[in-house]
Symmetry: C2
DNA sequence: CGTCACTTTGAGGTCATTCAATTCGCGTGG
DNA sequence: CCACGCGAATTGAATGACCTCAAAGTGACG
């Protein structure tokens, strides 16, 4: 299945300012494919043959080493992943699998690199995307080194709260096992961290979290734009 | 002091393929400056006014949050730092200070962005630089999440050993306090980690380390190109 | 030769993981 | 419709990793 008729993809910062004919060319080479949940898409160490874009569903980026495994990121629509490997024509550093039924757009790496050489606006967009990706990674790294597990959880709850309207009620977008791995802790520890946040007014009922005293949570984890803020891509 | 006559800078992957007149223009706007050791260069949170290039000496990138501090990277000649902030016209995410007497080239951000718009080869070089930076960051992040402190130390010793000729004798390029912070542990713990590596044939005398049984160290920390390898920029 | 920063070592405590057992919710199949 | 099984989530206890505090040793440098 090929797809040229995806306005969401065309609207992505990465493709928005491309020349129409270059975008068409790219889309003609691309595959739009449905995947069930829990399908392995790529393995770290493999050559980067495709740039992926999550059109629908959710993809988990993770890594394994010596019997340990950790979640590096969750990718939701509409975003691309593993751009850096494609640009470098290198090996993937992360593995990827779907966590829900998903629709993914797969664009062959050579086409991305060809379009990059040809289309100056696309090249600029790639620069922005990589710079944002780099800074996001730096923030994750800083969070891991500068905060405790419970603080990281609290900070993430505050971000989710903002993203979900700031009502004080947050619905976790994936299961707690995954959240724990993303935060760099075990599921058991995540449970205990939730329990520890109770004294700051955080209530847990399944995957819906209620934050009654946002200021107290802020005092505890000290959110910072230098660690927590998402970057707008514009 | 301004400097147009720095062949090392011109030879950098970032500038190598620029148009001569664009490079000249950039250098005419740049400052080459000497700094004593332990001088604060930039603070996280400040707007990114300059791109920095370490021509001589050494610069530590670090971050503080809530009374904690951690070293994020050490930059040695001849390399640039904080390119992503400059490109994004954003705020620095890391602070920087010299750890030795250093010569730094400072290029105003606007000039970098102007050259980026004008010079396609420069734009391509920036893409490569950012992609490499991103992948390096991912590797650090993975190492922190997937390895213990002692394993991270062992892996770093192996990398340094390769970089220093593979003789089995490594000279630490900075003091142990800094190394500890870079590895994400305390100085006390670094000492204990060195002691723990003794049984794999690692001997410590001041800042020179002797690795008598490289295979044993490898079996212990399981080095991987997906975590440890430096990326060539070419 | 004294000072000061770096490093090492020890003791004690905290945080996080592992292992084990239990509970809960959900979907499957009888 | 209910019993059952399964995976996810929680809780407890024990272990291990890492940090803090304190003190002593080492070396560089004025």
């Amino acid at each position: 299945m090929r797809a040229n008729d995806l306005p969401e993809v065309r609207a992505l910062p990465l493709f928005r300012s491309m020349e129409p004919e270059n975008f068409s060319e790219l889309m003609n080479a691309a595959y739009l494919q449905r995947f069930p949940r829990q399908v392995d898409l790529i393995f770290e160490g493999e050559p980067a043959d495709f740039l992926y874009i999550v059109v629908e569903g959710c993809v988990e980026l993770f890594s394994r080493h010596a019997a340990r495994e950790t979640t590096l990121a969750m990718v939701r629509p509409v975003r691309s992943f593993i751009l850096a490997a494609v640009i470098r024509d290198a090996v993937y550093l992360m593995s990827a699998r779907t966590t829900e039924v998903s629709r993914l757009l797969m664009i062959p790496s050579e086409n991305i690199r060809a379009a990059f050489e040809k289309d100056a606006a696309f090249a600029r967009a790639i620069v922005t995307e990589l710079a944002v990706g780099f800074r996001t990674m730096v923030k994750e790294y800083k969070a891991l080194k500068l905060r405790s597990g419970t603080e990281r959880l609290a900070a993430r709850l505050l971000i989710q709260n903002d993203a979900q309207g700031g009502t004080g009620r947050v619905v976790l977008p994936y299961d707690k096992k995954t959240l724990a791995s993303l935060l760099g802790m075990t599921p058991e520890n995540l449970s205990r961290s939730f329990a520890a946040l109770k004294k700051y007014g955080v209530g847990v009922d399944g995957n819906t979290i209620d934050i009654t005293d946002i200021e107290a949570v802020k005092r505890f984890c000290r959110p910072s734009v230098l660690i927590d803020a998402d970057e707008d891509i514009f």
